[in-house]
């Protein structure tokens, strides 16, 4: 098949370009979408089908040290869900933490062509890049964990803000990351150094650094905006999962002022009630703030019933969850950089808390006034596998289905929410926004999430069906960078995919300041720390945002 394609007669959903279900032809040449039909183009007849840009997952956990520990931990999860190879594709294992090959192929079988790994330790960047290289089809990048970085906190403590900025930029460059990630800022030191304690209040000052979580959040928001990274700090707030945590979440968003900030898996941070007691829904308080603050974006982190795997840099949280069933648990401390916890988990309809979490996620989606900033995620695999996205889409698009599903859950928990009263149904265009156009915009991926000329030819073609779960479960065609990957539901090719990263400018003098700390407190050589270009495979530098 030639490198030129013409997709004809399909119904196009391209919200970024204001196209909402028009029959239009799409032309592809040399991996990009073009205006005019190339001469030698091969046609795909998309009559009765819906055409969308390839999906973009803004927050998932698919590669790197913690993901691989979670893979190794759960043979029982893989065993029930093998992923056979084909003559063109590698085999693998599924479950909530699939092998790298299965991850890439399965994303593509849902019509997703880009995914961002949301939490990587700097020292684990090389490992993550190796895994991403083995994650086929999709383009991918990762967010580097800097919110509990001891060196950076020391700079903040000493008020050295310009060096802090240089060091953040140096770290993003040295790890080939896309942006910065904060997880439970300030929580690592009490966990590792104070017999498994945690920080509870956003204004609680650390005895070591004198910094509160708010000080750290503010410094990162300001710095990353100054650096103009393509995506603002990606923030996992303090107090994840605790009753009453919505106040911390509101305070975190307020700390950003009018600067860009992204709140990760906001559902897990939208609980009312009193700490230690049963939670209530604070979805309304949270979504009202998001609705009225265009500088804030978030992904929902929807909970889906069934098997999940908790994997997080928020080690105290994982230990807390481990306490419920006393099952197997991984804790992994990374020197000077991060903590990590892993717990196999499952969400069950009859459990009060789990139903409440499920309903709060749906409330947030259904009360969102700006789909461009309230994006679809399950915090895969924390809230559930990315393989449950089609079902989640149906829950949003199909109120009848939602009512049927509501009958199966814990009714007392449902009573605490407004879900029964929410009549909204998402349109196909809104789905295209929360799964493609929106995340691409929030990530500044200018060539993704739309079908205008010059865009990457990452395209998904679905048979239009009444059952939206079935529809989004199995696109008939998936085209990645202009190449047919799935053709009539069959894999017909393989593709490696690109690494997406950013390269903010920095003053190289910062290395002389980092190095002495490194020699004292790290266990590898400073010269061997920064990741070299040999790990990039195919890659693209995503330009930042010009700021004042």
């Amino acid at each position: 098949m030639s490198s030129s394609l013409r997709i004809v007669n399909g119904k196009v959903h391209d919200p970024a370009n204001g196209i909402d279900g028009e029959i239009r032809d799409i032309y592809i040449s040399d991996g990009r979408i073009v205006d005019a039909s190339p001469e030698d183009a091969v046609s795909i007849d998309a009559s009765g089908m819906v055409i969308m840009p390839g999906g973009v997952d803004i927050h998932c956990h698919i590669a790197g040290p913690k993901v691989n520990l979670a893979r190794k931990l759960q043979p029982e999860d893989h065993r029930r869900d093998p992923h056979p190879g084909t003559p063109y594709t590698r085999s693998g294992s599924g479950g909530t933490v699939p092998s790298t090959f299965a991850t890439g192929y399965r994303y593509s079988t849902l019509g997703y062509t880009t995914a961002m790994e949301a939490a990587v330790t700097p020292i684990g960047a090389r490992h993550t890049l190796e895994e991403l290289h083995d994650t086929p089809v999709i383009d991918k990048g990762f967010y580097v964990l800097l919110g509990n970085n001891i060196f950076l906190q020391n700079l903040l403590k000493e008020g050295r803000r310009d060096e802090f900025k240089q060091a953040v930029a140096w770290w993003v460059n040295s790890t080939k990351a896309f942006t910065t990630k904060l997880v439970n800022p300030g929580g690592d030191e009490p966990w590792k150094g104070k017999k498994n304690a945690n920080v509870e209040d956003i204004d609680e000052k650390s005895t070591e650094t004198g910094l509160s979580p708010r000080d750290i959040i503010q410094a990162f928001v300001e710095t990353v905006n100054e650096l103009g990274l393509p995506h603002p700090p990606h923030i996992h707030c303090n107090n994840l999962g605790h009753s009453g945590n919505y106040k911390t979440t509101l305070e975190t968003m307020k700390t950003a002022g009018d600067l860009r900030a992204h709140i990760a898996h906001i559902q897990f941070h939208s609980y009312g009630g009193e700490r230690g007691k049963n939670p209530t829904s604070a979805a309304r308080e949270i979504i009202e703030y998001v609705n009225s603050h265009p500088n804030i974006s978030c992904d929902v982190g929807q909970v889906m019933f069934g098997k999940s795997t908790i994997m997080t840099a928020d080690a105290p949280l994982a230990y807390l969850l481990r306490g419920f069933k006393k099952g197997k648990w991984v804790n992994a401390d990374t020197e000077c950089e991060s903590g990590c916890g892993i717990v196999p988990f499952s969400y069950q309809e009859h459990v009060f808390m789990h139903t409440l979490q499920w309903a709060i996620g749906l409330e947030l989606f259904l009360m969102s006034e700006d789909p461009w900033r309230v994006l679809l995620s399950t915090d895969h695999p924390n809230g559930g596998s990315f393989m449950s996205y089609p079902k989640l889409i149906r829950l949003l698009m199909d109120r009848e289905f939602r009512i049927e599903e509501m009958k199966k859950v814990n009714q007392k928990a449902l009573d605490k929410t407004s879900l029964r009263d929410l009549k909204r149904e998402y349109t196909l265009n809104e789905i295209a926004i929360i799964t493609r156009a929106g995340p691409a915009r929030v990530l500044s991926l200018r060539n993704k999430g739309h079908l205008g000329a010059g865009a990457d030819a990452d395209i998904t073609i679905y048979d239009e069906q009444e059952d939206k779960e079935a529809m989004f479960n199995a696109p008939r065609y998936v085209i990645k960078s202009g190449k047919s990957i799935i053709h009539n539901h069959e894999f017909v090719g393989d593709h490696i995919g690109k690494l997406l990263h950013s390269t903010p400018a920095f003053d190289t003098d910062i290395e002389q300041i980092v190095q002495p700390f490194f020699e004292d407190y790290y266990s590898i050589e400073f010269a061997n720390y920064a990741v070299s270009d040999q790990y990039l495979h195919d890659h693209e530098v995503i330009a930042g945002i010009k700021t004042l």
Binding site: N68, P75, S93, K192, I342, D494, S523
Partner: protein, 460 residues
């Protein structure tokens, strides 16, 4: 000595020693480029010095079939044909090569529907099984240096197997919260004999051979405040006073660490021993921060675990007969596939099972076509049908290795080798095996990445 100045000398700083799982990356190598030899390895331990000094360019053919020198291309063809023809081919070894080569080896096994296993299965394989059962509270080695005030070595002898472990990571270094180094730490050794590690320890506990599980389980009980049988000393060789003292110290430390060796995994109890230790470390987190880490042997055995896991979902002992990965230790692990006589061809990379496997396994290796990749002649390469001589990782090749704590490090080669790398040979075998498998299934010699139509559209 006056000639020294004329010699073609190169200094390689921040080089990495891949002899053991410590993977020290602070080597400063002096390389005689004319003699193709490392003449000095500053910072290396006794094992590292031997590793760097002895890896010279061997006087051997790059490729042999049945003991006769052939071209590399011919040997690759013979290797691919042998593997594709086999009904139960096994891939084994992999702990002394780069992750880049390991990725190719797993790919070959996937393509030929074989079985891949690494030296992990006869090293900390049982700890891998225990990990699957109970999890693990663990850390990178820098955390030990910065924080640990209480360290227990159990069933391992780093003084001889990992000589720089104490000075670089665990006992003597001064860290962030351990400014006085060893003075800020208490070190305990548990072993069946008084090894050369004993002088480093403040407390030496001698357990009766094969009674590690009983001792660990008694400690778990005491940590949880439960009663332990009065005859515990008769069973384990360790007195109740010693046990209660140890438990108090473990519960009251600030950051406790277990390092455990093959004294647990290779003896009676195997994965139950490792599991008991990991569970004990987990239990202790109710009182303080406690972590555990298996002390790994080979330079990139940890990389092998990682690569096999991310590509298949399982750490070792993985079979692709059905076209997807299945994991079953005891069925798909190499000692078993060889001793039972299942394997009908073997691809052995950087390992010498013919020297250190049980007798029955070695006997079977003599009966089947074996393909070896190694830097030197070994017992296994001597019996091989196809034998490749390859460049030494970290000395002649770049690439990635993982330290015992999963920290990845990039290698800095010292001098070129005339021999190809493991990665190059394995990539060539993979490509050829893929072509042969496609031909076998009637799809012709198409490579991956094509967009050719292979199936009729499916009607729904």
């Amino acid at each position: 000595m006056s000639e020294t100045a004329k010699e073609n000398i190169k200094i390689v700083k921040h080089a990495t020693c891949t002899f053991c799982g410590c993977v020290c990356d602070d080597m400063e190598l002096t390389v005689d480029m004319d003699a193709h030899k490392i003449t000095k390895a500053k910072n290396a331990c006794v094992l590292g010095r031997a590793w760097f000094a002895e890896h010279v360019i061997e006087d051997r053919p790059a490729a042999m079939v049945d003991g006769k020198e052939v071209s590399i291309e011919e040997a690759v063809e013979e290797a691919a044909q042998t593997l594709v023809k086999a009904r139960f081919p096994i891939t084994y070894g992999l702990s002394d090569t780069t992750c880049e080569a390991q990725r190719q080896a797993v790919a070959i096994t996937d393509i030929i529907h074989g079985t891949v296993d690494t030296t992990t299965s006869v090293c900390h394989g049982p700890s891998g099984l225990a990990f699957q059962g109970v999890g693990e509270s663990t850390m990178t080695l820098g955390e030990v240096k910065n924080r640990a005030d209480f360290i227990i070595y159990w069933g391992g002898n780093p003084a001889e197997a990992h000589p720089r472990h104490f000075t670089r990571y665990s006992v003597t270094p001064k860290g962030m919260f351990t400014p006085n180094g060893k003075k800020d730490r208490t070190v305990v050794l548990v072993d069946v004999r008084k090894t050369s590690t004993a002088p480093v320890a403040d407390i030496v506990i001698r357990v009766k051979p094969g009674k590690d599980f009983e001792l660990l389980w008694a400690l778990r009980a005491l940590v949880k405040g439960k009663k332990v049988a009065d005859n515990i000393e008769a069973i384990t060789g360790v007195s109740m006073d010693t046990l209660t003292d140890l438990v108090e110290r473990m519960k009251n430390c600030r950051y406790g660490v277990f390092f455990f060796g093959m004294g647990l995994t290779m003896t009676r109890g195997r994965h139950f021993n490792s599991g008991a230790l990991l569970a004990l470390a987990t239990d202790l987190n109710e009182f303080t921060h406690f972590v555990a880490k298996p002390v790994r042997g080979h330079g990139n055995v940890t990389g092998a675990d990682n690569v096999v896991s991310w590509q298949t979902g399982y750490p070792f002992g993985v079979n692709f007969n059905l076209g997807y990965p299945r994991f079953n230790p005891g069925e798909f692990t190499t000692v078993d596939t060889l001793s039972r006589g299942d394997a009908d061809a073997a691809l052995i990379i950087a390992s010498d099972p013919a020297s250190n496997f049980p007798k029955a396994a070695i006997e079977h290796l003599h009966k089947i076509p074996v393909i070896t990749l190694d830097t030197k002649e070994t017992h296994t390469s001597k019996l091989a049908h196809v034998a490749f001589t390859t460049a030494t990782y970290g000395i002649n090749t770049g690439g990635t290795v993982y330290r015992m704590d999963d920290v990845p490090i990039t290698l800095r080669p010292a001098f070129d080798s005339p021999f190809p790398t493991d990665e190059e040979i394995l990539t060539a075998i993979r490509k050829r095996a893929h072509e042969l498998m496609l031909a076998k299934s009637g799809l012709g010699a198409a490579g991956g990445g094509g967009t050719q139509k292979v199936a009729a559209p499916r009607k729904e």
